[in-house]
């Protein structure tokens, strides 16, 4: 039971917020308003579904093709800006959510990437990962907005990695 709760914690929390939201809306605007909101949600799903499927196929295909360990030899402590740039590019191309990306940090660290490159990698994945931008941000908020934000934040992982190399926080991959 507890493991079930742990595994589905976010599902349950979001479900609870959704139920509260539905109840509040029902009370304020009545049943038909709840129905309209559900219909909007369904429309949003239909709108996002083609990108979602394409994004997942692309992510799964890339995972079969890429070998992250091979990249890490360019990401060592002596790799300078070039290493940070490789890490930034690798982050943008990394598909999938946190369940895929964070374990990859361990793989890269094991293959020789230093903490600056790892911070640049994860920052780049989270800010500009292609899947998130193409599947969600561009369709929902508009391509103009997505391009603006991506262009502005494109060099930022390099900066984060540069700072991380200078911080007195040593990190060893957990055994």
């Amino acid at each position: 039971m507890t493991s079930f709760l742990r595994r589905h914690a976010s599902l349950l929390v979001i479900g609870a917020i959704a139920s509260l939201g539905a109840a509040a809306l029902w009370q304020r605007d009545g049943g038909p308003a709840v129905g309209r909101a559900l219909y909007h949600a369904w429309e949003l799903f239909l709108f996002i579904a083609p990108s979602l499927l394409a994004g997942m196929l692309l992510a799964a295909a890339l995972r079969q093709l890429m070998s992250p360990g091979a990249l890490a030899r360019w990401m060592g402590a002596e790799s300078g800006w070039f290493g940070l740039a490789v890490a930034t590019l690798a982050g943008m191309l990394t598909p999938g959510g946190p369940m895929a990306a964070f374990p990859l940090v361990l793989v890269l660290a094991g293959a020789g990437a230093d903490r600056g490159a790892l911070v640049a990698y994860i920052t780049s994945w989270t800010l500009n990962g292609f899947q998130r931008v193409l599947v969600y941000e561009a369709p929902l908020l508009g391509p103009g907005f997505a391009i603006l934000r991506v262009v502005i934040t494109l060099p930022m992982p390099l900066l984060a990695g540069w700072i991380a190399r200078r911080l007195p926080i040593a990190w060893e991959p957990p055994k």
Binding site: S10, L11, I14, G15, A18, G21, A24, R28, D29, A33, H40, A41, L44, F45, P50, S51, L53, M56, L57, L58, A59, A60, A61, R63, L65, G96, G97, P98, F102, P103, V105, L106, R115, L118, V119, I122, T123, T126, L127, R132, L134, V135, E137, P139, L140, L141, G142, P143, G144, F145, L148, R149, I152, T153, M156, A160, I163, A164, I169, W171
Partner: protein, 171 residues
């Protein structure tokens, strides 16, 4: 289909083509992985999209204007960055919510800060993934290194939109 969706499908087909060159088994594996991920994500969609839709109805139409509207300036950018970090869940939860903010009158630079703040800080992701997999020291290293980035992104966006006007899509 929008041009972005067509682009994504082209990329997916090309990547699957490369898989096919490695043998049909690789394509099969990719297909199985896609199916498994879809099964995992669909229940999330089933609760997250209605949640966002209900909240969008409940948030008054001009609620965001005073806090993170186009004229809220630096304070709005700062608030957006912090609020972004507190938003729960993956992109399927966050972007519909962000869309609700956009409809409620948020400004473009403030939205840039909000989305970037969610990307960088994501408190919920730190607790569920980053800390257990990589440990507190990595979390501290990353947070200190990228603390200022969402605010910087918002301020740069403020300068850019004065030159290039960019409209938010509101469906």
């Amino acid at each position: 289909m929008t041009p972005g969706q067509i682009f994504l499908w082209v990329l997916a087909v090309v990547a699957l083509g490369f898989c096919l060159r490695r043998g049909p088994g690789t394509v099969h594996k990719a297909g199985i992985e896609t199916g498994r991920n879809l099964i995992k994500i669909l229940p999330m969609f089933a609760v997250a999209l209605p949640m966002a839709a209900f909240l969008a109805e409940l948030i008054p139409a001009d609620a965001a204007v005073a806090w993170i509207g186009p004229d809220s300036g630096f304070a709005g950018v700062l608030l957006g960055s912090v609020a972004g970090g507190l938003m729960p869940g993956g992109p399927f939860v966050t972007f519909p919510l962000v869309l609700a903010f956009a409809k409620a009158g948020a400004g473009v630079p403030q939205m840039v800060a909000l989305v970037s703040g969610w990307c960088v800080f994501a408190v919920h992701r730190i607790i569920t993934w980053e800390y257990p997999v990589l440990g507190w020291r990595f979390v501290a290293l990353r947070l200190v290194s990228s603390m200022l980035l969402p605010v910087a992104a918002g301020l740069i966006a403020e300068l850019v939109v004065e030159v290039v006007p960019i409209a938010l899509v509101s469906r």
